[in-house]
Amino acid sequence: MSKENWLLIPFVLLILLIPVSGSRFYVFLGTDILIFGLFAVSLNLLLGYTGLVSFGHATYFGIGAYTCALLMKKASIPFPLAFAGAGILGGIAALIIGFFCVRLTKVYFAMLTLAFSQIVWAIAFKWNSLTGGDTGFIGVPFPQYLDSKIRFYYFTFAVVAVSLFILRKVVNSPFGRILTTIRENPERTEFIGINVKLFQLTAFILSGIFAAIPGALFGIFNNNVFPDILFWPASAEVLIMTILGGIYSFFGPVVGAAVLLFLRMQVTSYTQYWPVILGMILALLLFFFPGGIVGFLQTRLTLLRGNR
């Protein structure tokens, strides 16, 4: 076992023991963090590993939430199938959107992901008969065997752990290494005979699937789905989580999600002006800690070891 894996053990124990504390608040927060942690890691597959700035990642999260909820409630499809359907549809949406997006670079790529995400949002917003429009899709059924917050927490943990395990395998595989090469220099990667667009598209699809999975969990967790989760500020928020944690480490985005959600929970209980706090955190981060929390800790650790 590598050193990083040993480091994980206390965190995993902490996550597993949270429900034992009996605090409903922490179980709630923990579920939220696990869901958004996976969502942020799925974005980081594009952002940190492939160097693609997606400004519409909430699309796949939202598609996952709506698909799972609609299949269960409107088509009465059992939860496991609906859950798988959410992942599949997220992947298909990412295939279609990514097909067009990977042809562009930089600002144009970001703009096109934004345009597509707004199209999906506008459809969900206006298609009242299917999605409930802006009043939201209320009453997503809880699968019977997950009918307690604690059971759902453990289920979420299992899904997120398996997903992160797969994603970690992916980024450490030869495929993942090629993605990093593309991030560093797409032209040179093309020169050594690699089909850059195809690799980018594959990363885009994987990222879409692993954003739809936490999306499906989120819909059930909240018992409802609103079009807001597809709107562009939602995409900006997950981008902030990812950068806050650090885009150059695998678990960085999870840390970012945890810190951001915890802070939001605390701040919003004191004041309604959470956006101004978030804006200041973001500005401080960009100026002083561009590597995010994990990046900052890593450089500190290396400095400490160097001094010894």
Binding site: T105, V107, Q118, A122, V276, L282, L286
Partner: protein
């Protein structure tokens, strides 16, 4: 489906044209800043919002003074321009060497901060500013009426566009600005103070955004959220017209204005998605925009 009355269509189209002129004021500043500084300024809509709030503030300060609206508009837009310079000088200029994503996210941080500041200072209620007295009333067009103020806005838009075109293409400053857009390092080594030039460009862009906000205040309510609404539409305009292209921005504004005004009549449920479909189509088929210059991507 019965055909709508042509005079109604005309008025609706003129409304679209009025909206297009506001969009043009915002989007041309956005496009100018992107063209020269390479920064996609998310906070441009926030500057527009501040322009509107300041105008409301100044108008209520100068009650009864002659020409109060115009003085308020000038003062408000200049205040916004100064805020823009502060943002550029103290914050943005430190990020020029960073990746584009960091610059973009910093301007997004500004959006969050400025929108909450506006809420803290002016609350969440809505304000309106009354039209200047001489422009009250409406002009009959066919058998409908169209407000005088909107006619002035429609006339003002092309005037401002022409002034800017003149400055950019026919003056020394304009030449430097165009040179900075192409190669800032070369310009720097030729002895031009590029960092001051950037500040000037940001000043102009912010001033236009402030002016847009000031001029919109008599025709639409000043509310929290107006910043985000306009910035998304301004992004669509510059993408359709071509990032950094001046006439492209003009054309983009006209298109978006008409799509909103007429699209809502033709397909009330689809118009929201339609504008984004248009944006996506342009990005797929001509990523450099309808009138933008093709660059190696």
């Amino acid at each position: 489906m019965s055909l709508p009355d042509p005079s109604f269509l005309l008025i609706q189209s003129l409304n679209g044209l009025t909206y297009a002129m506001f969009l043009f004021l915002i989007a041309s500043g956005l496009s100018l800043i992107f063209g020269v500084l390479g920064i996609l300024n998310f906070a441009h809509g926030s500057l527009y919002m501040l322009g509107a709030y300041f105008t409301h503030q100044f108008v209520s300060l100068f009650v009864d003074a002659p020409g109060q609206f115009w003085w308020a508009a000038i003062l408000a837009s200049l205040t916004v321009a100064v805020i823009g310079v502060i943002i550029e000088r103290f914050f943005l200029c430190h990020l020029y060497t960073r990746e584009q994503l960091y610059q973009l996210l910093f301007t997004y941080a500004l959006v969050l901060i400025l929108s909450d500041f506006a809420k803290i200072i002016w609350g969440t209620g809505q304000f309106s500013v009354s039209r200047p007295a001489i422009l009250n009333g409406a002009v009959p067009i066919l058998d409908q009426y169209f407000p005088k103020y909107n006619i002035i806005i429609i006339l003002l838009g092309p005037c401002i566009a022409f002034t800017f075109w003149f400055i950019i293409l026919r003056t020394r400053w304009g030449r430097k600005i165009r040179a900075a857009a192409l190669d800032r390092e070369m310009l720097d080594s030729l002895g031009v103070n590029v960092s001051r030039l950037f500040t000037v460009v940001f000043f102009i862009g912010a001033w236009m955004a402030g002016l847009g906000g000031a001029l919109v205040s008599p025709v639409s309510a000043i509310v929290p959220g107006m910043d985000v609404e306009i910035i998304v539409n301004a992004f669509i305009v510059v993408v359709i017209g071509g990032l950094g292209s001046f006439w492209g921005t003009f054309l983009g504004s006209l298109i978006v204005g008409q799509v909103y005004a007429l699209g809502i009549l033709a397909f009330p449920r689809l118009s929201l998605a339609f504008i984004y479909v248009l944006m996506a189509l342009v990005l797929i088929l001509r990523p450099w925009g309808l009138l933008g210059r093709r660059l190696q991507r």
